[in-house]
């Protein structure tokens, strides 16, 4: 569902993403881990067709992001890092706008809105303007908008940012429910968050993909070395060597 092949992105002389390759199949939840500035958001922005690639190829649900961006956008649910929303809009109108812009027919839009609103717990703020909502609710609105069209591929950039601990737990459960038939990639710089729901981890540092490793394999590796998970990941990052 997600195929990333030798993708590089340069900003002038700075290489933000360097020859990154990985694949994510349906039913997989993959955590994208790395410190701030590692290149996570840049890669996600290329995957959602916002940023052009300097080189390489990305295919989402079979469509190339450069050759067929509209088809890619149709298959994607994307929550950007800063979750910018139309502040002056009421929540229900915003969701309706997002659904109609994605070509959902009226009946299906109504059904999907009910589903998204219920799953994201947006009932209390439906009639409110987005600018009146708390940070937690704003994040939920962004997630609801990303899932509205029932996309087969979901990209979430720091999705738990701004959520309280209870909301984070609820969010994890929510993501696990979405697993069936979908490829889910979410970024975070919090290890515990990523390992708690992911099948696999992609560890990126300074634009390079250092590890594409199953969470179970990472745990085994940590046990073998007498380390906890955090130490194990830090060792990978410090060594700067690719681990599979």
């Amino acid at each position: 569902m997600i195929e990333v092949d030798n993708v590089t992105r340069r900003f002038g002389k700075v290489v933000a993403v360097d020859q990154v390759s990985f694949r994510i199949g349906p039913g997989e939840i993959v955590g994208f881990l790395g410190p701030n500035g590692a290149g996570k958001s840049t890669l996600l922005k290329m995957m959602c067709t916002w940023l052009p690639l300097s080189s390489g190829r990305i295919r989402i649900a079979g469509d190339d992001v450069q050759q067929n961006p509209l088809a890619v956008r149709r298959s994607l649910g994307y929550l950007p890092e800063h979750n910018a929303l139309y502040e002056g809009m009421k929540v229900d109108r915003f969701l309706r706008f997002m659904g109609r812009a994605r070509g959902l027919p009226a009946g299906r839009l109504k059904e999907r809105m009910q589903w998204s609103v219920s799953k994201c717990g947006l009932e209390p703020v439906l009639g409110k303007r987005i600018q009146e909502c708390s940070k937690g609710f704003r994040q939920r609105i962004g997630v609801a908008a990303a899932l509205l069209h029932d996309p087969p591929v979901i990209l979430l950039d720091e999705p738990t940012h701004g959520l309280d601990p209870l909301q984070v737990v609820a969010f994890r459960e929510f993501i696990l429910q979405l697993r069936e038939g979908r490829a889910i990639l979410f970024s975070s710089h919090i290890l515990a968050e990523v390992t708690s729901i992911s099948d696999r981890l992609l560890i990126i540092h300074q634009g390079r993909l250092l590890a594409d490793i199953g969470v179970d394999r990472l745990r085994e590796r940590a046990l073998e070395r007498g380390q906890d998970l955090e130490q194990c990941v830090l060792e990978i990052v410090r060594a700067g060597e690719c681990v599979a």
Binding site: P26, R74, G88, A101, G103, S118, D150, P152
Partner: protein
């Protein structure tokens, strides 16, 4: 996220939506923009201020001349629009860029030109609404005498085309900056340039400064909106005027879409 209520079967990943048609995409974007105008009160301020000022400018000359026509109204528009139109266009892209919602909008399955055209239509609708507020002048003239309605219709058509040109120019400038004030000032200056190059004093001055180039005449004939607008006001609907105003509007909209494509990079 509510983990409760999980008994409900989750829709599968199948059944992805299609693309909105070109017109549906336009309608969705334009609808959101029109709502945003009214949500932010810009629409009310713009329409009321425009209608009050336009009617006042007309009335102040109407009672002096006593002529049952709208020349005074149409003559005042090239001076009014360079200040009113940028107020409508300044936020269109500058705000999207500043608040980063541009990433949200341009990663929806709609083309960039669709988004540009949708926003343009919304601004044009608002301008049209403001012009509707000047129709009582027409009603009053019909009540008072026997005005040439064909001439009035032609004048309104010219006004709509000039408005479209200024809107598209303002939109282009809005795509270049994140600052709405800068956008407003620069857009006003550009619109004034379109108007000023049609002023006979400006033409004479520029021609005088460069007699060999005849820059003033060149700008008047090839750039200024005034000769084309004046033709409409006089009741002459010429192909060259239509091409000039519509062609430039489309060109500006196309350039706006190109600029937005570069913003991604």
């Amino acid at each position: 996220m509510s983990p409760a209520g999980t008994q409900r079967s989750l829709p599968g990943a199948s059944g992805s939506p299609g693309f909105p048609s070109f017109l549906e995409g336009l309608r969705v974007v334009a609808g959101r923009e029109v709502a945003a105008y009214f949500d932010s009160k810009i629409a009310y301020v713009f329409v009321i201020a425009f209608v009050v000022l336009a009617n006042w400018l007309f009335m102040s000359r109407f009672f002096l001349t006593g002529l049952v026509d709208m020349t005074a109204f149409f003559d005042s528009m090239p001076l009014l629009l360079p200040f009113f139109i940028p107020a409508v266009t300044m936020r269109l892209w500058a705000e999207e860029r500043k608040s980063r919602t541009i990433e949200l909008l341009l990663t929806l399955p709609i083309r960039t030109f669709q988004a540009v055209l949708g926003k343009f239509l919304a601004a044009f609708l608002l301008f049209g609404l403001a012009l509707l507020g000047t129709l009582p002048i027409v009603v009053m003239l019909v009540w008072l005498g026997d005005p040439d309605l064909g001439l009035i219709a032609s004048g309104y058509l010219g006004l709509l085309l000039m408005g479209a040109l200024f809107l598209s120019a303002g939109m282009l400038i809005s795509a270049l900056s994140c600052d709405q004030i800068v956008t407003f000032v620069v857009s006003s200056l550009v619109c004034l340039l379109f108007v000023g190059t049609g002023n006979e004093w400006a033409v004479a001055l520029l021609d005088g400064l460069s007699p060999s180039l005849s820059a003033g005449t060149f700008l008047y004939e090839s750039f200024s909106v005034i000769p084309h607008y004046d033709a409409f006001v006089r009741g002459l609907i010429g192909l060259s005027a239509l091409i000039h105003m519509l062609g430039l509007s489309l060109l500006f909209l196309w350039i706006t879409a190109q600029i937005l494509e570069r913003v991604r990079e």
